[in-house]
Symmetry: C2
Subunit: 314 residues, 2 copies
């Protein structure tokens, strides 16, 4: 159940040549594509892309797009981009779709401030607009304030906590959550500017004083996009591994499976905490995540995700 | 009237030793301090700071603070910090004072997106808070939205312009400026997210359609901090050299002189467009900026500013 990708012993050139061979002739040799790309680190894949371009004067990403299709293609595409570039694509898709604001919240709240800034840079390089520019035009009111504030944040990452502040701001959040229809500007200020450590102290303070998690009162039948995003923000800061476990759980629970969400979590977290997410999933559901995935999806898409998870051996 | 600082032929070690000698004995040899620091580039000064620390195990900045005082000290202090660090200090002072929001607008709108991001990084290193964190707690409503939006922006810097957008957004700005008391959220969105090139196209479009500059209607007797900041934002994007000329003009016109503003412009723009600001000043006032400064201020402070301007030779 390891998610550690062992460094390849092939050179980038050898991998590029093997991929080229897999594309040639009638049809694509998907097994080779899966076996190579699914067993390489992001850095190795960037070297393979470069080698491929140097040898064949062709963009590997574009070639893959024409060779494979469906959820498999989407997963491979997200996998072979550099992390910041991939997240820029995910944010762009979320903005354009006008829903899935949770993807934007997730990337803004889980990444480190420097990583988030790299996503903003990658987004501008790709789309000639800033994230906040596209996001602000597609949203308004409190939702805009929250999402733009999250995405443009550059937070303090040190350990210093202000305990008094945690207490007073826990009360501000309480008012905002309780009132619901009142002014949420102060809650937005807190969530978009305070450091992660400070926010966790504030959430803990809330739990002590009000005897329950702050998210409990936030999500009910009538929740709008703003309240849902507020909820996701707090969950991501509090414990993003638990949050991702829930995303995966919901994705496989659905009739038809939510492939986009499943791919997103597996591809985005493979290098960091996919193992933890997988462990929490097992604890919560008493089923191995790999077994559920093997049952719910199929074909090359299934082989590829299970390869990333270290459970498929070609 | 050149503002070009010629590279020094002394080594950083020699400069560090000369400064140390200037501090020793009874009183400080201010002329040496002015002659060395006023003739070095920012990069050279950083090397001198390092040499000084290596040789004397003492922070040059702290030593200077104890050796000199008043407006002279303030000017030297701002001069010897790295530009991003100096701007972080300026932003911090402006936030704490609860006025001078124009300094925040200036830094956010005149610097390149990468430079602005470096200021945010320097601010966090120095104060263990983010700029937006401190700024948001000291402001509210539209003023907060505008200033936080400006400071956290990371804009597209390419040449691509959307002409249709320039036209429609010129009308949005018109509504916001005309109404004044209406909702300004869309005007804030435009000014905090669009690229500089796009904004200038929008302002030009406004001028063509409404026969006058957009700033004309913004500033009158009853303007509040938000309207003043809106005004400064537009002026900084439109033509920041003209804007800085006005800051300097107002600074020296005052009874008593506004030393903070004067120092800020001269020290911040010395490496880039102080020569242009000085030219525009001459065109507008038919007096050389150096002459006015020589008349309005005195002592070591005067010698130091004129040295930066290339007009004082010790």
């Amino acid at each position: 159940m390891s998610t550690v990708i062992a460094p390849s012993i092939n050179t980038p050139q050898e991998d590029a040549e093997a991929l080229r061979k897999a594309f040639e002739g009638w049809g694509t040799d998907e097994n080779t594509v899966i076996s190579i790309l699914g067993h390489r680190t992001s850095h190795q894949i960037q070297l393979i892309r470069k080698s491929y371009e140097d040898i064949y004067h062709e963009d590997l990403v574009k070639r893959l797009e024409s060779e494979i299709k469906g959820d498999f293609e989407k997963a491979v595409y997200r996998w072979i981009l550099e992390p910041a570039d991939r997240d820029a694509v995910l944010v762009h898709v979320a903005i354009k779709s006008g829903k899935n604001y949770n993807v934007i919240v997730e990337i803004s709240s889980v990444l480190s401030p420097e990583e988030l800034f790299n996503v903003r840079r990658a987004y501008i390089n790709r789309y000639k607009h800033s994230i906040e520019e596209d996001l602000a035009i597609h949203t308004s009111g409190h939702l805009r304030q929250l999402l733009v504030g999250l995405v443009t944040s550059y937070r303090y990452t040190g350990d210093e906590i202000n305990a008094k502040l945690a207490q007073s701001e826990a009360e501000i959040l309480h008012e905002s959550v309780k009132e619901k229809k009142g002014s949420h500007e102060e809650a937005i200020r807190i969530l978009t500017t305070r450091s992660k450590t400070q926010l966790i102290a504030t959430f803990n303070r809330y739990r002590e004083t009000h005897g329950g998690s702050i998210t409990k009162k936030l999500l009910d039948e009538g929740s709008d996009d703003f309240q849902k995003s507020l909820y996701t923000t707090i969950r991501c800061f509090n414990d993003h591994v638990k949050y991702y476990e829930k995303v995966v759980r919901d994705a496989v629970k659905k009739i038809g499976t939510d492939e986009d969400a499943l791919t997103r979590v597996i591809v985005s977290r493979a290098y960091t905490d996919l193992k933890n997410i997988s462990d929490v999933y097992y604890k919560r559901n008493s089923v191995l995540l790999e077994h559920v995935i093997a049952k719910e999806i199929s074909g090359d898409y299934k082989k590829f995700l299970l390869t990333i998870l270290g459970w498929w051996h070609l």
